[in-house]
């Protein structure tokens, strides 16, 4: 357009007035250059300076790591009976990223509208089951306060119910639960069916929270959907890109109450441990993990490894193609337990019957192979149905929480009680090894013995009296050797062994030796069983008593400890381990519930391997004397446990009747019966066959009464069931 350049000279019209247009165009050109510079600068800043960051953002947009969960391993009993399996079930979730945005230019809330549409498809408006289940899921996800606020802000009136709060227990010096205090908390009534607006508000809130972490992570809104319904939903929701239908198998514990303490249950990752799980490769925040029992302790083996694939998605979250390597999931391993399911049933039934008869609030029975530590059965009553953790938080669950007997606790490994006379096994072995007595040493029971009062040693009135259980019946046992003393469970004999008897110039084991041997036999530290929640109580010694009571250890303390009263507390499993050690000749095994870990293809990953904790430093023949005492308790005419005999096999055992103090604040004393006697726990621990033991059983009934009257018959029936039905004797092994 060069023709304009020389136009000015040819111009012959009216003189061109210098007007504002001239400086406007000039100004305009400067603006043009400035704008060009500005836009270039901005482009350079965005594309070159920050280009890499934006490239990463773009990749974050389009690549999505999709996790394919591995099927969780199942569990079998020792004989191959399936105990827990996976039931197919479907979960409906929404991807926050794929929901429409709330466009501020329009009146309607697009997101809420889409959620409502989804909920209509799920039938949440009509089907009360769906509405209730969604309410529960949202309650679990949002928590009590957020749930209530969200629903009420949506203009829905909530009903409330009161449930007992967390139980706080104070323990007395024996560790017995004394007073339980519990405040009630007000929670929304989950049996109230929420109207649509309430559910939409809850889901929107959950999406909002879920989107804060990763907006491409699906937020579950409904689970426990069966296959038919899931397919219907998939078909109906084709136009709703945010809806995901995933198969999330539900754990089905086939025998419920029978094995719940062993198997445990699954649940969402606890909020407090989220970081830890994430660090261990739990990338899906909705994954359910083992929270108790074997589900917890074998979580890694059962879980397997989830598979991953990188997919390129478009804005609607549709998978366009798979990028790079696909990692297939590795299915979880299966567990084969040492448990005999039929034995477990026998134990469960017999113990339940005994509890009904005695009114004991809780009770335990455990069976173990004393030769290797394999747990053959373990029952803690009351029990609970672990399936309810997979299902809804309904009345069953609330009842479980409210139950004063706390069924969720596995008392076999989680309760601490005085072992009573079962501890005499330890005392006698220690006394024989330390040469306090010999096999034929005779100690006379001539009635109660007295320890002089420390401050008034010459005043017999002030002396402390120690009696044997038989004295209350007007019987004295007279001269006894160690076998007879074990058979009769005579207390005087063991007082002598524990604390000595100065008037006869008899020197006992004393606190140090008692404590040392208690620890050697497996008291104190937890036994190391492969179940969570096991406790142990420190074995008391002089220093412990000084710290706790500001008093020194007395001979009386040694007396009490020698017969399993006083300060020493143990779990039923520890008592069983100590008796099994006697049965097998002096080896302390760690109990194990799991026998084998088998991968999904049947390959053996881990076979059973007995875990020896220690060999007791006992001279030859000493354990045989203690074993003989246990034989005599069952098989001699004088024995306390004659009721434990099983036709066809020789049983040996030891009873226990442990006094305990349940402090009643109003009385400022322990609970006592009319005659002033303390209540007692009933204990019996036995093994069979005597010659070559293959099963050891402990039975414990809290506040159950006499060991010989209550715990012995239960154990007898368990042993009978074992030898008749589960592992019948062949001709050769029958004596």
């Amino acid at each position: 357009m060069s023709m304009y350049d020389d136009r000015d000279n040819l111009y012959i019209g009216p003189p061109k007035t210098p007007d504002s247009a001239t400086w406007v165009t000039r100004f305009f050109r400067i603006g043009l250059l400035l704008v060009f510079a500005l836009l270039m600068g901005r482009l350079y800043q965005l594309q070159i300076v920050r280009g890499d960051a934006y490239r990463t953002d773009a990749d974050d947009n389009r690549f999505r790591l999709v996790e394919s969960p591995a099927p969780r391993g199942v569990m079998y009993d020792r004989t191959g009976q399936i105990l827990v399996r996976n039931r197919p079930s479907f979960e409906i979730s929404l991807v926050p990223d794929d929901l429409p945005f709330n466009d501020p230019e329009t009146e309607i809330d697009e997101q809420a509208a889409e959620i409502e549409h989804v909920l209509q498809v799920l039938n949440a408006g009509q089907d009360p089951d769906v509405a209730l289940r969604m309410g529960e899921l949202m309650f679990r996800r949002l928590g009590r306060a957020d749930y209530a606020n969200t629903v009420e802000n949506a203009g829905v009136d909530l009903n409330y119910v009161f449930v007992p709060g967390p139980v706080e227990t104070t323990a007395d010096e024996e560790g017995q639960p004394q007073a339980t205090t519990s405040s009630t908390i007000r929670i929304p009534d989950l049996t109230q069916q929420l109207p649509m607006e309430g559910l939409v508000a809850l889901v929107q809130r959950a999406i909002e929270l879920g989107g804060q972490g990763s907006a491409s992570e699906p937020v579950p809104i409904l689970d426990l959907v069966d296959r038919t319904r899931a397919f219907e939903i998939v078909e109906e929701s084709y136009a709703m890109p945010s809806v995901r239908v995933n198969e999330v198998p539900v754990r089905e514990y086939i025998y419920g109450d029978l094995l719940s303490h062993i198997l445990g249950f699954l649940g969402p990752i606890p909020a407090a441990l989220e970081d830890e799980y994430r660090a261990n490769g739990y990338t899906n925040p909705n994954e359910r993990v083992g929270l108790n029992g074997l589900e917890f302790s074998y979580q890694t083996e059962l879980r397997g490894l989830p598979g991953y694939k990188n997919v390129e998605v478009d804005i609607l979250g549709r998978e366009m193609r798979t990028v790079g390597q696909v990692i297939d999931p590795v299915p979880g391993s299966n567990l084969i337990l040492n448990i005999y399911k039929p034995l477990q049933e026998a134990m469960y039934n017999e113990l339940e019957k005994a509890m009904e008869e005695t009114g004991a609030p809780w009770a335990v029975s455990i069976a173990m192979n004393p030769q290797n530590g394999a747990i053959l059965g373990m029952v803690s009553l009351p029990s609970y149905d672990n399936n309810i953790f997979a299902e809804r938080i309904n009345e069953d669950y609330l009842a479980l929480e409210a139950d004063k007997r706390r069924p969720l606790i596995n008392y076999a490994i989680g309760g601490l009680y005085p072992p009573g006379s079962t501890f005499k096994l330890v005392t006698s072995a220690a006394a024989l090894e330390d040469d306090v007595i010999g096999e034929s040493t005779i100690i006379r029971d001539d009635g109660p013995i007295y320890l002089p009062n420390k401050f008034f040693p010459d005043d017999p009135e002030q002396a402390q009296e120690f009696v044997s259980w038989n004295h209350a019946l007007g019987i004295v046992h007279g001269p006894l050797n160690v076998v007879q003393a074990l058979a009769l469970s005579n207390d005087i004999f063991f007082y002598w062994l524990g604390g000595g008897y100065p008037p006869a110039e008899f020197k006992g084991l004393g606190q140090k030796e008692l404590s040392r041997w208690a620890e050697l036999f497996g008291y104190g530290d937890p036994t190391g069983i492969d179940l969570p929640g096991e406790v142990g109580a420190i074995v008391p010694d002089d220093q412990w008593k000084r710290q706790l009571y500001a008093e020194s250890w007395t001979t009386g303390d040694s007396y009490n400890m020698a017969i399993g009263q006083g300060y020493l507390l143990s779990t039923p499993l520890q008592v069983l381990v100590s008796a099994a050690t006697v049965a097998n000749g002096g080896t302390v095994y760690e109990p194990q519930v799991v026998r084998q870990v088998v991968d999904a293809n049947g390959g053996l990953q881990r076979d059973f391997e007995p875990r020896i904790r220690r060999e007791l430093p006992l001279d030859d023949g000493i354990i045989d004397i203690v074993r003989e005492g246990m034989w005599a308790a069952v098989n001699s005419e004088i024995g306390t446990a004659a009721g434990a005999q099983v036709p066809g096999v020789t049983v040996a055992g030891k009873t226990g009747t442990a006094e305990f103090c349940e402090y009643i604040p109003e009385l400022e004393d322990c609970r006592r019966d009319e005659e002033g006697n303390l209540p007692t726990h009933a204990w019996f621990v036995g093994f069979a066959p005597y010659e070559d033991p293959e099963i050891a059983v402990v039975t414990f009934l809290y506040d159950g009464g006499e060991g010989s009257a209550v715990a012995v018959p239960v154990t007898q029936k368990i042993l009978a069931a074992y030898f008749n039905d589960i592992a019948p004797r062949t001709e050769e092994t029958t004596p």
Partner: protein, 350 residues
């Protein structure tokens, strides 16, 4: 001309890339090609039509335009919350698109006709009234982008039309006074968009488009990801990628180099238009060329700025590049108008 055609060519290629993977839109690049054909006819016709005749048509144009805007408000078709289209025999027409050059024509006529009287206040107010009448109507639709565009074109023309310095001062003062009222009168969606621009983190949902555009632009780098390989574009993370955000597609797929070429071409076109204005012999022609320059400059600036998060989101398209028949054809008509100014010099002066 060549620059314009290059821009259009780039536009069609990018529209193809932006829409071919979306079934509903996959023939848009073809439709744009048809519009280009129409546009070229319009351009050539406008070029050879002597622009001086528009002086006669100026008053009817003004009446027709304001009339159609009133009609839009009364009978218009509501789309996405605003009324911008009117149905003429079944075809949706957006009068504001044609309005771009209509405003230029009648304002240029008024300002050149009363050129010598512009120093007097009543005539200036008359010009303002001519500008404000359609402005208010467009604002009521509501269409913030167009309102601002008209205001800019009008402002440039009135400035160039021969106002005195003291008048500019007065107008600036008046504008300052009305500013608070303007904010109050801004319609809800406009306030929201401006707030999203100022504080994007407060409204992540609404800032989504802007953010995705930034990611698209930023991931382009020097040479871009290649035509048809922009992930933001191809996987539809960019919304309205064939119209409002076409520049992001260019920046993503063609990189800094491609984006610079596009901006450069656009500004080159404006530069040429200013040259036409400088060389125009009469006020009318000069103001028309200037108006067209202002129109293209402003739309390009606002659209690119919006793609680069320098300005709030408005519905303004990128001249010649964005998809859209009425926008393209009216732009090409505007260019034709300016070309007409260029070639019809001197004849009618005698």
């Amino acid at each position: 001309m060549l620059a314009v055609l290059t821009l259009i060519g780039i536009g069609i290629a990018m529209i193809y890339s932006a829409t071919v993977t979306t079934i509903d839109l996959s023939d848009y690049w073809l439709r744009q090609l048809v519009f280009v054909g129409l546009g070229v006819v319009v351009l050539i016709a406008a070029t050879f039509f002597d622009y001086h005749y528009f002086q006669i048509l100026a008053i009817p144009i003004f009446l027709l335009f304001t009339g159609s805007l009133v009609a839009v408000l009364l009978f218009g078709v509501n789309q996405g919350g605003s009324v911008r289209w009117i149905s003429v025999g079944g075809v949706l027409v957006q009068p504001t698109e044609a309005g771009k050059f209509l405003v230029i024509i009648y304002l240029a006529w008024y300002l050149s006709w009363f050129h010598n009287e512009m120093g007097r206040l009543p005539y200036l107010l008359g010009a303002l009234a001519l500008l404000l009448a359609p402005l208010v109507l467009v604002y009521l639709e509501p269409d913030l982008g167009m309102t601002v565009t008209f205001a800019f074109i009008g402002g440039v023309l009135i400035l160039a039309g021969g106002v005195r310095l003291w008048q500019i001062g007065l107008m600036a003062f008046g504008a300052l006074l009305t500013l608070p009222f303007l904010w109050g009168a801004l319609q809800g969606y406009m306030v929201e968009r401006i707030q999203v621009f100022l504080n994007p983190q407060d409204n992540p949902g609404a800032a989504f488009n802007v953010n995705q555009a930034l990611i698209a632009v930023g991931s382009g780098g020097w040479l871009g990801r290649g035509w048809g390989y922009g992930s933001q574009n191809q996987l539809h993370f960019l919304r309205v990628r064939h119209t409002d955000f076409i520049f992001s597609v260019i920046a993503e797929e063609l990189g800094l180099i491609g984006a610079t070429i596009v901006i450069g071409l656009l500004l080159f076109v404006v530069w040429r238009l200013l040259r036409i204005a400088d060389h125009a012999q009469d006020h009318f022609g000069r103001l028309i060329a200037l108006g067209v320059a202002a129109l293209i400059f402003f739309q390009a600036l606002i659209n690119v700025s919006m793609n680069l998060s320098l300005a709030p989101v408005t519905g303004l398209t990128l001249p010649f590049v964005s998809y859209g028949g009425s926008s393209l054809i009216s732009m090409m008509f505007a260019i034709g108008l300016a070309e007409s100014v260029a070639i019809h010099q001197g004849r009618t002066e005698f």
